[in-house]
Every structure is written in C-alpha cells, then in structure tokens.
C-alpha cells in the first residue's frame, strides 16, 4: 500500500485515493481530429514501464486531483503537482 502525498492533506494511504492513469501525451481538437487521431487520443496509452506521470484524486478525502511521477516497475514516487502543471 502506497502512501501518496496529497497536496492539500499531506501523506495518506493509497486506499483513500483513486488513480486515473497516465497524463496523456497527446492532445487533439475533437472538432478537427480524424477518426484515427481521435482513437489515439481516446484509447491509446504509452503505458510506460518506468517513471511516468499519472493522475490521482484524493477521492475519500478532499476530492482534489493532482499528478505524481511514479515508477510503474518499482512504485518509487518522485515529483508531484497540481493540475495545470502536468505537461
């Protein structure tokens, strides 16, 4: 069980949080994107083995979202930040 650093509440146990997966590396304009580009943005993932940036929400706490860098192979945690600074 990980301890995650909620930017508002401090370190809390994993069970209080929900993960929404990696911070997307592609951004498309839905109005102009081709079906292929849209499918890529919607469904495809880098799914990196190693350090990546992902979204967490302090779901059973303050309900606030933040991103964190976590190594998916070792679960080592690094930087984190508030929405708006993820990319």
């Amino acid at each position: 069980m990980l301890i995650l650093p909620c930017p508002w509440c401090g370190p809390r146990e994993e069970t209080e949080f929900a993960c929404d997966g990696e911070v997307s590396s592609v951004s498309v304009d839905p109005a102009t994107a081709s079906d292929g580009a849209w499918a890529d943005a919607l469904h495809n993932r880098t799914n990196r083995k190693g350090m990546h940036r992902e979204w967490w929400c302090h779901r059973r706490g303050c309900r606030q979202w933040f991103w964190i860098e976590r190594d998916t192979a070792t679960n080592q945690l690094r930087n984190s930040g508030l929405p708006g600074t993820e990319s």
Binding site: M1, G21, L42, N44, R45, H52, R70
Partner: protein
C-alpha cells in the same frame, strides 16, 4: 517418448533415468521465418498451431525468462465461456472445446477438470442480467443451469446460504463445462508439442530492440544476438506496450497488477469454482487441496509483480462474506501477475501498423482460458495475414471505428 501409464511403468523400472527432454534448448539461428516474442501459453500455442495447422516450422519462440513464467504461471486457472457477446462466446467456447481435448491432443495431462463455475446472485437485478446472459449463451449453444438456494446449500455446503448473510445468496448460474487446468502444464505441453514439430524454444532471451526497414520488421535485437525474421508476432501480455514502443506504435492497453492467493492445502471441500460479482471474489480448490482465491485488479498501472496489501485485505473479507467458516484457514502465498487491459475488456489479436508484425494482447484477467483458441486464431492471422473468423472482431481497427466489444456492459444496474 509418448507419455502413458505404460511408459511410466517402464521408466520406473529403470529409476526414471531415461526420460528424454520435454523440449530442447537450442542456440538461436540467425534467421527464422516466424519469430514469436513471448514463451507463455499464447506464444507457445501459436507456435504449435503455426506448425500444425499451417505447416510453418521455421519458428523461434523467444522467452526473456522461463517459459510459462508470465501470466500463464500466475493465474487462478479458470476456464469458461459464459460471455455475453456472440463473438466472444464463439471464441471462448471454441477454446473450451480445445481444452477438452488438449491433454490427448498434446499427449500431456494438463488436468482440465470440468468441475463447473457457479456465479452467485444476490439481487433481482443480478438475476435479471443473468437471464439475459443465459439466454444469449443458449442461443449460442452454450448451456448453463440455474441453481436455487437449496441446490447451493446441498452442493456447496461451505457457502453461507442463510438469508441473514450481508449479501444473501438468492440463486446462482452454473456453467458445468467450465473448470480449471494445471496452468504450468499448459505451457509445458505446448512447448513439448511445438518442439516435437521443430519449433525452437529459446529461453533467457530478452528482446531489446525491433529493427525496422520502412514499414517492415527485419530483425530483433536480443540478449542472445540479433535474430532476423520474416514475420514477428508479439504475445507478451503484461509487457505488450513495451514491445509496441520498440516497434514504434502505441496500444490501447494499460497494465495492472492482478493478485491472487492460495491457502494451505486442505482435504476436499469445494468441488467447483464459486464466484460473486457483488461480493467481489472467486474461489476454487486445487487438486493439491489449496484454496485458490482471486478478486479484482489493483487500482493503478503497474509492472511490479506484486500487489497492494489492501487488495488482499478486501479479498479475504470478501471470501469470508461468502464462506464464513474459513476464518482459521491460512493464507500461504500471495502473488501478482501483470494483466494488459483494453478499454472494452476484450482481447486484441490483430495485425498492426507494421506490415509483418502481429500482436496478441488485451487478455485482461482471462488470458489463460483463451490459450488454445488464441493460439489457433493468432497462428491463422500470422500465416495468412488476415484474421480467422473468430478474431475478426478483435482487431486494433475497432478502436478507430468505435466498434468496441464491451464485455463490461451487462454489469450493474443503476436506477
């Protein structure tokens, strides 16, 4: 040497000193017609059917560790075909039928035990959805039967069938043909059979890079040197995105840890697989007597073959919710596999953006049951460069067209 009671007797007389290798361990050749990356059940089955059904025998299966060491050797061994969608039902039922013959086909006892799968129901809404599933299965020639609470109390005395249970059981749906098999044996049986047809099984051979010329793969860079290939097939569930990245594309896949536990061995007490959606857990008892227990995957992407302890706490609580007398049974071992999950919880057995590269992935939590059929259709796709009728709906193109195969659909009712 053919395996049989006679050969076992004969070899016992010579103290088992003359059994041949189950498969060889050759040094890799510089080039193969087909190279399959991944020596799990799917990779080995694919090699076997490429040789058997399509006459392609110049094949290498590259395994970065030991064969069967990924999800094939880390799952809870359930085999069933009670899928809602027609395409899935057809695919998985074909797999069950292949499993029924597999020990004799491969001359290796994989111990497929059709002890049935009992899905417990706790609400009218679940019963109603189960009716939809049962009728759909029936229309596809897959039979299930309904079990009343009295049936359950008689056949699974361990189960708490009292109306006072936190989630009282009100009935169950059983697929009798479902069952379990010895997971390692499936990999070993395909390895031995494929080896017998000339396939090279190369262990301790990790792929480090995929060399391309234009839109074609030319060779693989491996820890045992470069290996050229006419066609390359990726069957590395738990690692698919890593290989796809080497080949230069992304997949609609996220990898998660899926945990399971076994108990200490106990005398026979449970002769079927029992699962519940509302109380999220499923249980079976192995031939050795261990209770094998699984539940939901962990909540975040992971390549670490270990899971969160919180998941195990929930799993044990769920287990005791259904089987309250098991409190003093002891957990012996906890482990995790890495499952590759597609957005619609259906597999991908497909051509890829790279012309001579094929992929089989997205098996989620259910890859083991799919091994024989997955091998047949993947071999077909590789040999003929087009899908088999049974994996037409499992292409990567479905994500662009939007025609997903959502097996999560008939889930919970919200009103």
């Amino acid at each position: 040497m053919r395996y049989s009671i006679a050969s076992l007797l004969r070899n016992a007389l010579s103290y088992h000193e003359h059994w041949p290798q189950a498969w060889r361990s050759p040094a890799p050749k510089p080039r193969y017609e087909v190279v399959i990356i991944g020596g799990g059940g799917h990779g080995l089955a694919t090699a076997y059917y490429l040789a058997k059904n399509h006459g392609i025998t110049d094949i290498a299966v590259l395994e970065k560790g030991w064969i069967g060491g990924g999800n094939t050797g880390r799952n809870t061994t359930g085999i069933r075909s009670n899928y809602l969608h027609d395409a899935s039902a057809a695919f998985y039922d074909y797999s069950v039928r292949l499993y029924e013959e597999l020990s004799r086909t491969l001359n290796y006892n994989i111990m497929f035990s059709q002890r049935g799968l009992v899905s417990l129901m706790h609400s009218d809404a679940e019963l109603a959805q189960a009716d939809r599933l049962r009728n759909a299965l029936h229309a596809n020639g897959i039979e299930t039967d309904f079990m009343t609470v009295a049936d359950l109390a008689r056949e699974i005395p361990l189960l708490d069938t009292s109306p006072d249970a936190r989630y009282p059981v009100i009935g169950a749906v059983r697929q009798k043909r479902a069952g379990t098999a010895r997971h390692d044996a499936v990999a070993w049986a395909y390895a031995r059979a494929a080896d017998g047809l000339g396939v090279h099984i190369i262990q301790d051979c990790a792929v480090r890079g995929i060399r391309r010329e234009g839109d074609r793969v030319t060779a693989l860079e491996t820890t045992q040197g470069n290996i050229a290939a006419g066609r390359v097939a990726i069957a590395v569930a738990g690692h698919s995105s890593v290989l796809a990245e080497m080949a230069g594309f992304r997949l609609p896949i996220v990898s998660y840890a899926l945990q399971a536990v076994v108990s200490e061995p106990l005398k026979p007490m449970l002769d079927t697989i029992v699962g519940s959606t509302a109380v999220h857990v499923y249980l079976t008892q192995s031939d050795k007597g261990e209770l094998v227990i699984g539940a939901s995957r962990d909540g975040y992407p992971s390549y670490a073959q270990r899971g969160s302890f919180g998941t195990v706490e929930d799993m044990m609580a769920a287990g005791l919710a259904l089987f309250p007398t098991l409190g003093r049974v002891k957990l012996l071992r906890q482990w995790a596999g890495i499952v590759d999950v597609a957005p619609d919880a259906s597999p991908i057995v497909s051509k890829t953006p790279v012309a001579n590269l094929y992929i089989s992935t997205g098996w989620g939590t259910g890859g083991f049951k799919a091994i024989p059929a997955g091998g047949v259709v993947f071999a077909h796709t590789i040999a003929l460069d087009r899908p088999h009728a049974l994996n037409e709906r499992y292409g990567l193109d479905r994500f662009t067209s939007g025609r997903l195969m959502d097996e999560n659909a008939a889930a919970a009712v919200r009103h």
